[in-house]
Amino acid sequence: MSTNDGKFGDYGGQYVPEALMPAIEELADAYERYAVENEDGFLDEFRCRLRDFGGRPTPLQRAERLSERYGREVYLKREDLVHGGAHKLNNALGQVLLAKYMGKERIIAETGAGQHGTATAMACAHLGLDCEVYMGTRDINRQRPNVFRMRLNGAAVNPVSVGRGTLKEAISETMRDWATNVEDTHYVIGSVVGPHPFPSLVRDFQAVISEEAREQIRTRAGTLPDSVLACAGGGSNTMGAFARFLDDEGVDLYAVEAGGSSLDVDEEAGVAPNSASLTTGSEGVLHGARTKLLQDRHGQIMESHSVSSGLDYAGVGPELAHLVDAGRVTPVNVDDDAAISAFHRLSQLEGIIPALETAHAFGYLEDAGEDLGETVIVNVSGRGDKDLESVIEETAKRDVKNAPDLDVFAGGTGGLR
């Protein structure tokens, strides 16, 4: 799991404006020196901070009631317990620290669900760097608590109103800022996407998930798992959860994408009402990398959709696309309805309120057949505090059989006030 030329089979590469190329080359060099070769003890410091500030290692918990329900051993990798509430800090902390080693003074980031933005804002406050976060206006509305949290940590939040105002637009806008301020600024990208070295860099920072989980399951269950499930937006928690299992042939890896409201696409409207680029996407170039994309037949990127902001993206990490083509990773998908139902199921059965993103992985656990095998690890990529309002709204819209009665809170005057 070390350096490479930035290609994963045909995927990957560095498709960015020339103005950014020197910065990307500088970053690739810094990645190599610090994050791969541990120059100046970078990796040691990173591990220490992950532990003390981030709260690692996170537990691998046997989910008793889910195990009973499904007749298999279900283990939860508890990334929801990481500081900030999601796996996102693993990467944000790594990159902000790397930027500090590189002498950068200013950090910018895009965010979808707001989890990467809050993680970056936290890491910047912790390490004393300036921080600006770009976020689509639609996502700002869906994930307001996270907007406040970024502001409280001293970060600026820049609304992006182009297009549908989601993650895709926020990434484009952050790239524009970077192209303008590349000399003193580092762009902390939030997933295993973007130009080389980002996909490798982010994967390496997130690989701590599977590094811990592999050790933990061997201690706890005395065996490797039969399968590992993780939701995939850009794919950072996925790659993090899979990385150390890639060489274990007996371990099946499932990337669970957002099926949204439908797997069909509306080319006329330029809308794919899902975010299932691994399942339904095609090869193309976006945001610096060649990968699988939701695009129309002309190559225009489609507006994706998912009930969870963090999965609502038309692309996916190039390495994940490659692993799917190579047959190592199985792409599956779970739609909005099933994700919401899974959200309620986990909340009620296990006392863990998951992020809506994470709920997709549990949606697949409910649907899957025998294939998953006896021992399954599900990566709990984040907690759902940020999603409370969305869940109330989305639950009210549907007939969710296993939802508690939330009516009293959804009233016109702001609930129980």
Partner: protein
């Protein structure tokens, strides 16, 4: 055979940019022709891509208008065919549209079709030299130019890598950031031109040039051409917002083109021999 080199041979080149199909197909035809009348030596025709990461707000909005009016690569090619101008034409677009065109994956089908309709070259803002070999090969096969952007941050080996692959002209990015009209001309331009002095490909400066005076200064500083986009798109946007008649907007574009071209000419007259590189 690309007609770009000869356009630069004739003196300082004025290279306007418009997003094709902005705000609609028909108006856009008139606008491009107006620029030609105003003295354009080369015309950059933007084929809108949904994620224009290198563009500032002005061109982003143009892209949105054009896409909403139904622009597609095929219509773009139809547009070029229909266009009645003499100046060489450069297609400016993002790599995904090039890569996805036609039935086989790769840039060749796009370049072939572009050559058929009379496109002379390409600028692809998200395609650095490192990823450009397939497109360079297709351009060579069809005798087209591949223009690269050189940024203020481009130095040393990178510069050489680009200059080995460039043809037609180098697009000298006047400043860091995205496209967009500015009130001044950046110091970074002089430094970039100095770094490029040894190579004898024409150097056209773009990003932020909005007036005849800018054009004059840039050419005086040694540029072989000026590229102007946002300042022209602003006129289109303004006309669109105020429901101006197409012919009025076309007239304003033609006038602006004359101002810029005249500026470039004045600059050429003041031109001093470029300082020797050490």
């Amino acid at each position: 055979m690309s007609r770009v080199p000869e356009a630069f041979a004739a003196g300082p080149a004025f290279v306007p940019y418009l997003a094709v199909g902005d705000p609609d197909y028909e108006s856009s035809l008139e606008y491009v022709e107006a620029l030609a009348r105003g003295g354009a030596d080369v015309i950059e025709l933007g084929l809108p891509f949904s994620e224009p990461v290198a563009e500032g707000p002005t061109i982003q909005s143009a892209v949105v208008r054009s896409l909403e009016a139904g622009m597609t690569p095929e219509r773009f090619f139809g547009f070029v065919e229909e266009l009645d101008v003499d100046a060489p034409l450069v297609c400016m677009t993002y790599y995904n549209l090039i890569y996805r065109f036609g039935d086989e994956r790769g840039p060749e089908p796009f370049v072939r079709r572009a050559a058929e309709v009379g496109i002379d070259g390409f600028v692809v803002p998200d395609l650095p030299a490192e990823e450009s070999d397939p497109l360079r090969a297709a351009c060579d096969a069809h005798d087209r130019d591949l223009i690269f952007i050189v940024a203020p941050t481009t130095r040393g080996e990178r510069l050489e890598r680009i200059m080995e692959r460039v043809s037609g002209y180098v697009y000298v990015q006047a400043r860091l950031g995205t496209t967009g009209a500015r009130a001044d001309v950046s110091d970074q331009t002089d430094a970039s031109l100095a770094r490029l002095a040894d190579w004898d490909v024409p150097k056209a400066v773009g990003f932020g040039i909005s007036t005849g005076e800018h054009a004059e200064r840039v050419v005086a500083a040694g540029a072989d051409g000026v590229i102007v986009g946002s300042a022209l798109v602003d006129i289109v946007a303004d006309g669109h917002e105020n429901d101006a008649a197409t012919s009025d907007v076309a007239a304003r574009l033609e006038e602006k083109a004359r101002e810029l071209k005249a500026g470039a000419r004045r600059g050429a007259e003041q031109r001093v021999p470029h300082p020797e590189r050490t």
